[in-house]
């Protein structure tokens, strides 16, 4: 550590350049990770907020809640652990506002999902023309008491509450009554709900024409979700590997430049482990410094970035990502260790 600290102190510009490179790499990885997490959350926030473990859909709905319709018989008898949920895509339209695509989710106010929705402002839905909406609509200029129409329905729906993080498939959710879902779907008789959701893992429907899935199975079948996650994971993975190679090359060049110095130290009998320790601890100090600055930059970005940008900063996840970068960089720094171990002290002896 002594040699590493002294070299960093003396070679401020060179160390600064390497730290700057690690800052940029770590910042890019942190931001991409946060963006990936934010995008993933915007797909699943609403489902995760319902507190459901299992969901029963029509067996022919291709694991898509929007395509599912269950009759009273198929829904079966509900305990307090189960709830109806009707979902349909809608377009909200109001004077002075652009059209807004959304998912309407109809709930029964006496069942657990409706009770679990956390309000940011306003009150819960009490009447068929009332809705609670995702706060993304607030960013679009809607306020409590504003009204809009949904699809071709003549009814004017009034916003009585806002809720945070209520997005499904990156689309805002509008919560209303189950009867409203039926009306929007034009259902006069037959289906009573899209799905039956249960908060217990033991729940299983045995009705004909139905199939029960876990919450994760439903999430995985959300349109585009898997492709998006896979894209980000591959991107971050490749970035990490490329970063490791870049950092390793830099550290290797740095070590090569010091070989004559190391040869002198070897001639003086300084043990190899001291030189290897200096190489690794220098890498650790440079990478750790870069990560700390990268973390600070990410935190600042998190404070100033507009709310519309789907970024989520999960500190434990980012800590793991940072740790992986550090470990990979240290692995990279081990590459020149063999060269250090094999340095020939005779090479520094001048003369003949």
């Amino acid at each position: 550590m002594f040699l590493a600290l002294k070299e960093i102190k003396k070679e401020k510009f060179r160390s600064g350049l390497i730290i700057a490179m690690i800052v940029l790499i770590s910042y890019l990885i942190f931001i991409l990770t946060s963006l990936a997490l934010g995008m993933a959350r915007e797909n699943t926030d609403a489902i995760n907020s319902w507190g459901v473990a299992k969901i029963t859909l029509s067996s022919n709905a291709n694991v898509d809640m929007r395509q599912s319709f269950l009759t009273q018989k198929q829904a079966g008898t509900l305990s307090k652990n189960e709830a109806y949920l009707g979902e349909t895509p809608v377009v909200a339209e109001a004077k002075g506002h652009q059209q807004q695509s959304a998912f309407f989710v109809g709930l029964k106010s006496t069942q657990f999902i409706a009770k679990k929705i956390k309000l940011e402002s306003g009150h819960r839905v009490r009447h068929s023309h009332e809705v609670v909406v995702d706060d993304a609509l607030k960013l679009k200029g809607y306020q409590l008491g504003d009204s809009f129409k949904l699809n071709d329905d003549k009814t004017k729906f009034t916003i009585v509450g806002f809720t945070k993080r209520a997005k499904l498939n990156v689309t805002p959710v509008i919560y209303g009554q189950l009867g409203t879902w039926r009306a929007l779907r034009g259902i006069k008789m037959g289906p009573v709900t899209s799905v039956v959701a249960s908060k217990t893992n033991q729940y299983q429907s045995h009705q004909d024409g139905t199939k029960t899935y876990t919450r994760q199975q439903i999430i995985n079948k959300l349109p585009g979700y898997q492709a998006q996650i896979l894209t980000f994971v591959l991107m971050i993975g490749f970035l990490m590997v490329i970063s490791m190679i870049i950092i390793a090359v830099f550290l290797y060049i740095l070590t090569l430049q010091k070989l004559p110095n190391y040869a002198v130290l070897r001639a003086q009998g300084i043990p190899s482990k001291v030189l290897v320790g200096a190489t690794i601890s220098q890498s650790f100090l440079l990478v750790a410094s870069g990560l700390i600055i990268g973390t600070v930059l990410t935190a600042v970005t998190g404070l100033v970035i507009p709310a519309q940008v789907p970024m989520a900063f999960n500190i434990p996840l980012l800590a793991v990502v940072g740790l992986v970068i550090l470990v990979m960089a240290l692995i990279g720094s081990l590459i020149p260790v063999k060269t250090v171990l094999n340095v020939d002290p005779v090479s520094v002896m001048g003369g003949e």
Binding site: E7, G269, I270, P271, V346, M349, G351, E352
Partner: protein
């Protein structure tokens, strides 16, 4: 008392038509308390000889015995430890670590060999003698060639080794400084009972030597 001895050492580099027989059946013995000067033309193998004595190079044949033990009987790690404990190198190119101040060059020795080094007073005395005491906080790049060479000498002396091997220690020094370094090396031999071997072209050091050897050109 013999600090080290060299018996029938041969050193051959290369093979076939590129073969160079640098050292021929060299026998040598250095006693503690003496300063030995090895002179000879370029290419005669002076530095190679010093490298073999220092345990950095294993000779093609022959034995080198330090403190009564043949180098061949020591592992690489043991040879490293021996160099750290008992042998002080003053190299021709006086490589100082560029990112350590003069003071840090000595601190590094303390880090890897905490015991047996010169005391602060002894170090100050050496620095004073060499005229570099005021340079403790300077980096090598801030020193002249002569100053760097004197710092390299002080660094080699700091671990208080029993054997001092110097390769052209006065190459970058002017006349008065040569006398200072010559006197210091002589004093280390006589007053501190060290075995000092100096490889040099510099005939100005002859006046300080106890034994003068001349190496013939290799063929």
């Amino acid at each position: 008392m013999s600090a080290f001895s060299v018996k029938n050492v041969n050193q051959i580099f290369g093979s076939g038509t590129a073969k160079v027989h640098v050292l021929h059946d060299v026998n040598f013995e250095a006693e503690s308390g003496t300063l030995s000067l090895i002179m000879g033309p370029s290419g005669s193998g002076k530095t190679t000889f010093l490298t073999i004595i220092g345990g950095l190079l294993t000779p093609t044949s022959g034995t080198v015995t330090v403190n009564g033990i043949d180098y061949n009987q020591r592992s690489k790690k043991q040879r490293d430890a021996l160099r750290l404990e008992a042998i002080g190198f003053v190299l021709q190119a006086y490589h100082l670590l560029p990112y350590l101040t003069v003071a840090d060059q000595f601190t590094l020795v303390d880090k890897v060999k905490p015991k047996g080094n010169l005391t602060k007073a002894e170090l100050n005395q050496v620095l004073e003698t060499l005229g570099i005491r005021s340079l403790l906080h300077k980096y090598p790049s801030e020193l002249s060639s002569g100053q760097q060479q004197r710092v390299a000498i002080a660094r080699a002396l700091y671990p208080n080794p029993a054997i001092i091997l110097a390769d052209e220690p006065t190459a970058a020094l002017d006349g008065p400084r040569v006398k200072v370094v010559g006197s210091l090396l002589k004093s280390l031999a006589t007053d501190h009972h060290k075995a000092v071997v100096v490889v040099t072209h510099d005939s100005r050091l002859i006046e300080f030597t106890d034994h003068l050897y001349e190496m013939q050109e290799a063929y």
